[in-house]
């Protein structure tokens, strides 16, 4: 099977700095693929190599099975949506969208028809004669994407195009982008540092750090089964507890935290041995919270509510363990049950042993 | 508000007036040609009289324009050529009559003083006295085989692309003489004069190819001749003599039709503020020893009686090489230019410049 996009051992160096380090990836046709990583991780460099603005030092890039080495951006079957969209301010919307068609010598009549069609498909029919500054942020966004999609590229590259939008609009655009991708069926490669954008829209997400892919997988697998401490920390929120492996019983390890508590956790086979320094990750939303202090669970803490961070559905509670003064962030269920929770109250926390992840502590690439 | 403004304005105007008045008290503002007021002479004058001399270098047209713009203010003494005094005075009233009793008449060569007085008198008032005289002719690399030069040589194929002259009235007049006309006699007959200029124009346009460049300043001409880019030029005697001293073979040559003679004079601007200092300066520089110093600086002789004795031999010699008695007698002295001729000349010069 040929993939829409394939990278084989691609590397890029700027002076002493290894921006992209031996990346390989394969993206099947029609998928929404995100590259997620903090700024400086090399994701923009990788994207620019895909677009053709720079050439890899090593390795090769294939689009629809065709090697791209030496092919300039204007000859590649990929198009790019830029961070600040890069709509041409001196042209109207129609001219902006027709720009690529005109360069490909598409006759005027056909050009006009294609422009009208694509505007229809992005739900902005008949705005050909408006100028760029007359559009709202979201409309510009869609026009920028339409300007690329009208050329029917094999792959569409998106360089954090939502970064400049305000939060509310960003939430809307996430949904719209996904819909557009599904409607056009084009392969999207989306780079972002915002894990929520990546999770919501993507079929596959690659988490990138220090020029390498830490993990590639579906949003669910990244969330539930992070392979590395970096992924565990970067994808979603996490509480981190530092400790030592005390003993291992089958697939369950007992961890003694530095503060002296014992926690049980499952772990991937043969990755741990007793006496090892480890970090234990528990997601705030995986922790049960009860007012009843007499609960018995495999992992259990009694603590005092330090503060309540109210944020509607994303509200959280900061709880301090009474014994060890370890702080944990816990999601606050909005089921009325805890509406009257106040700081200083004593509560109990518990979680399933399968809900925590454990990684060796000498991994330096933690976020 | 308006009152304040008026007050401020009056205050600043009177302040400016006071500053300039106080500065003028011991100052002579002299508008003259390059070389006519050497630093050595200025220093000596200052020492003897305590009057500071402020020199502005200029030329005939510039002097008239400057005085015209201010209606004769800004300077205390100017040095126009004698042929340009009466026309400018009648037209723009930029000079005031001279009080000859303030001058030591015996310091002047009598014939020159008399000629200048005659040429610059309007309604019985004398407007200038002579200072420095000189001639315009040809400057050439002198060769044994050629002993007679004419302004017509400027159009000769022998000098193709190696010729330079000024695009100004002396060139027109020099060519007119060389072509056998007498432009000075036609000064009073505008029609005849225009006809002569027409012929000169045609000739200058026909041989424009000969011209390397029109020169505009004496130094620029000397540069062109010294570098050999130009081998024949119409120019001032002093420049030719200077080059002769340097090179030995380039020299000033009076043309067959006669060199053109000019006299630069002293005149008082209508609104000059220190006439006394002006007269003092004239009397000072007309002393033979001082006049000789000026001759050495400017390269031209003065109207000072007895100054030749003090001029160094070298300069006297170059003068003697260039001139014998007959060529001296043949010098054509510029008579006063009647107003209106300059307009005709100007159009002629424009057309020559524009011709391709």
């Amino acid at each position: 099977m040929t993939f829409d996009l394939e990278c084989r051992n691609v590397s890029k160096q700027f002076g002493d700095f290894q921006a992209v380090n031996d990346i390989s990836l394969e993206i099947p046709a029609g998928s929404f693929f995100s590259i997620l990583g903090p700024s400086g991780c090399g994701k923009t460099t990788l994207l620019r190599m895909l677009a053709g603005f720079s050439e890899p030092d090593q390795g090769e890039i294939l689009i629809k099975g065709k090697k791209m080495a030496g092919i300039p951006p204007n000859k590649r079957p990929v198009n790019m949506v830029f961070q600040h969209l890069a709509l041409f301010p001196m042209m109207n919307i129609g001219e902006n969208i027709a720009y690529g068609l005109k360069r490909n010598k598409v006759p005027k009549q056909e050009r006009d028809k294609k422009v009208a069609d694509v505007l229809e498909r992005i739900d902005l029919p008949g705005i050909e004669n408006k100028s760029v500054h007359q559009l709202s942020g979201g409309q510009k966004q869609r026009v920028a994407i339409a300007r690329c999609l009208v050329l029917e590229p094999d792959v569409l590259l998106l360089d954090e195009p939502l970064g400049a939008l305000d939060l509310k609009l960003r939430e809307q655009m996430k949904v719209e982008l996904k819909k557009l991708q599904q409607a056009f069926g084009t392969t999207f490669i989306y780079i972002t540092h915002d894990q929520s954008e990546a999770m919501v829209m993507s079929d596959q997400v690659a988490v990138m750090n220090h020029g390498r892919f830490e993990q590639v997988g579906s949003p669910q697998s990244l969330y539930y089964q992070p392979n590395t401490a970096f992924v565990a920390g970067f994808v979603g929120n996490n509480n981190r507890i530092e400790g030592v492996v005390e003993s291992i019983v089958g697939e369950t390890a007992i961890i003694r935290s530095d503060a002296g508590q014992q926690f049980k956790t499952t772990f991937p086979e043969a990755t741990l041995h007793s006496g090892q320094q480890v970090h234990l990750y528990i997601r705030p939303e995986a922790i049960h919270i009860r007012r009843d202090q007499n609960v018995t669970s495999e992992n259990h803490i009694n603590g005092r509510v330090e503060s309540i961070l109210f944020d509607g559905g994303n509200s959280q509670v900061l709880v301090k363990d009474t014994e060890s003064s370890q702080e944990l962030t816990v999601s606050l269920p909005q089921t009325r049950e805890f509406n009257d929770l106040t700081a200083g109250e004593m509560i109990s926390l518990s979680w399933d042993i399968r809900q925590s992840n454990v990684f060796s502590a000498n991994n330096k690439s933690e976020p | 508000m308006l009152k304040t403004m008026k007050g401020l304005l009056a205050l600043s105007v009177s302040a400016a007036a006071m500053i300039s008045a106080s500065a003028q008290a011991e100052e002579l503002r002299l508008l003259t040609w390059a070389g006519y007021a050497p630093q050595e002479v200025i220093d000596q004058f200052e020492q003897e009289t305590g009057i500071t001399v402020k020199v502005t270098k200029s030329n005939n047209e510039d002097m008239i324009s400057k005085l015209r713009a201010t209606r004769g203010a800004g300077y205390d003494l100017v040095q126009p050529s004698q042929d340009r005094v009466t026309g400018a005075q009648k037209e723009y009233r930029i000079y005031k009559p001279m009080d000859l009793s303030q001058l030591n008449a015996e310091q002047f060569i009598p014939s020159m003083l008399a000629a200048t007085k005659t040429n610059t008198t309007i309604n019985g008032d004398v407007y200038s006295v002579p200072h420095i005289w000189g001639t315009s002719g040809l400057i050439a690399g002198v060769s044994e085989s050629k002993n007679a030069y004419s302004f017509n040589d400027l159009c000769s194929d022998d000098y193709k692309g190696k010729v330079s002259y000024r695009l100004k009235r002396p060139t027109l007049i020099g060519f007119a003489f060389a072509m056998g006309e007498d432009p000075f006699a036609a000064y009073t007959d505008e029609k005849k004069y225009a006809e002569i200029l027409g012929k000169v124009e045609q000739k200058l346009i026909d041989c424009k190819d000969n011209v390397k460049a029109y020169w505009s300043g004496g130094d620029a001409l000397i540069n062109l001749l010294r570098s050999g880019e130009v081998t024949l030029a119409m120019g001032w005697d002093a420049g030719g003599w200077k080059l002769h001293k340097e090179t030995g073979n380039i020299n000033f040559v009076p043309p067959e039709s006669g060199a053109l003679g000019w006299i630069d004079t002293f005149a008082l601007p209508a609104k000059g503020k220190n006439d006394e200092a002006a007269y003092k300066w004239i009397n000072f520089v007309m002393q033979p020893e001082i006049a000789a110093k000026i001759t050495e600086a400017a390269g031209n002789f003065t109207a000072s009686a007895g100054a030749e004795e003090f001029v160094n031999d070298e300069l006297s010699n170059s003068y003697k090489i260039s001139y014998n008695q007959s060529s001296l007698d043949n010098i054509k002295w510029y008579p006063p230019v009647p107003a209106g001729l300059e307009i005709i000349e100007g159009k002629t010069l424009d057309r020559i410049k524009a011709a391709q």
Binding site: F53, P73, R103, C148 | R93, K208, Y214, G228, E229, A354
Partner: protein, 287 residues
């Protein structure tokens, strides 16, 4: 009049005085002088004679046309040469290099125009540096005269004007998001079409304001065309100078001055119309 108003007018006063005394008054005086004719010694009367002379005497008209055409050409050449320079300064050069490049454009202005022009004369004259070098290198067997022709005048004019074109271009180009250029390439443009369809249209305000300044400076230049131009060289400002200074014909000179102002304004206006720019836009582009 209350205090606030008074202070407003007082603050405005220097500007108004400058405009009125230094710009408006002399122009009006010029206009007045240009509209009179000398009848006899010191007597003048109203006349359009000098304006008539401009249109009926082919010499004056030709001189103006030649000056205008040369100025337009010089402006176009300056633009052509300055654009890559400005591009380099705005987009490619970094930090120290950028300042050095700017400095290089500025250095000619550390000496007066006269000295600058004499510099060119020393280089280009028959017995000059370049001619000497060509002979030394065996590329010419006789001295080469490079002065006194229109090409030299053009070189001098472009040299003098560069800075005034580079500065507005740099400030416009610096404001351009690099991704516009990348987007244009990405959408299939090649070097030429990207330049034509994106970069140049974006830079139009800078181009127009640079061109206006350079055109006006060139048209009003006196020293460069007079000193570098040869015996056939005609320049309109030289004609004005001649009328005023050597011909004592202030009336004609003033008429030429007024005509120069009107005709150059007309040319600038036409240029703005053609490039679909407004004067205000062009003049505020580098703000």
């Amino acid at each position: 009049m209350n205090g606030k108003k008074l202070s407003f007018y007082l603050l405005l006063m220097p500007l108004l005085l400058t405009l009125a005394l230094l710009i408006l008054l002399p122009q009006l005086d010029m206009l007045g002088i240009s509209l009179r004719e000398r009848v006899s010694y010191g007597v003048y009367e109203f006349s359009l004679l000098h304006y008539q002379a401009f249109f009926t005497e082919p010499l004056y008209w030709n001189t103006f046309v030649r000056t205008a055409v040369m100025s337009i050409l010089a402006t176009a050449l300056t633009l052509l040469i300055s654009f890559p320079v400005a591009w380099y300064i705005a987009k490619i050069a970094q930090g120290k290099n950028k300042n050095l490049m700017f400095l290089a454009c500025l250095i000619p202005f550390w000496v007066s125009e006269l000295v600058r022009t004499y510099g060119w004369m020393i280089l280009l004259r028959e017995s000059g540096v370049i001619s000497g070098f060509l002979q030394w290198a065996g590329l010419a067997d006789a001295p080469v005269e490079m002065l006194y022709n229109d090409i030299t005048v053009m070189t001098g004019l472009v040299y003098t004007s560069m800075l005034f074109m580079v500065v507005p271009l740099v400030s416009t180009l610096e404001g351009m998001d690099d991704s516009l250029v990348e987007a244009a390439y990405d959408l299939g443009g090649n070097h030429f079409t990207v330049l034509r369809t994106v970069i140049v249209p974006y830079a139009v305000p800078g181009i127009v304001s640079g061109c206006i300044v350079v055109f006006m400076l060139t048209l009003g230049n006196y020293l460069t065309p007079t000193l570098l131009g040869g015996k056939d060289s005609l320049w309109f400002t030289e004609q004005i100078f001649t009328q005023f200074i050597t011909r004592f014909n202030w009336e004609q000179g003033a008429a030429f001055g007024v005509l120069l102002l009107c005709l150059s304004s007309l040319i600038v206006w036409l240029g703005l119309k053609l490039s679909k720019q407004s004067f205000k836009q062009a003049m505020t582009s580098d703000a």
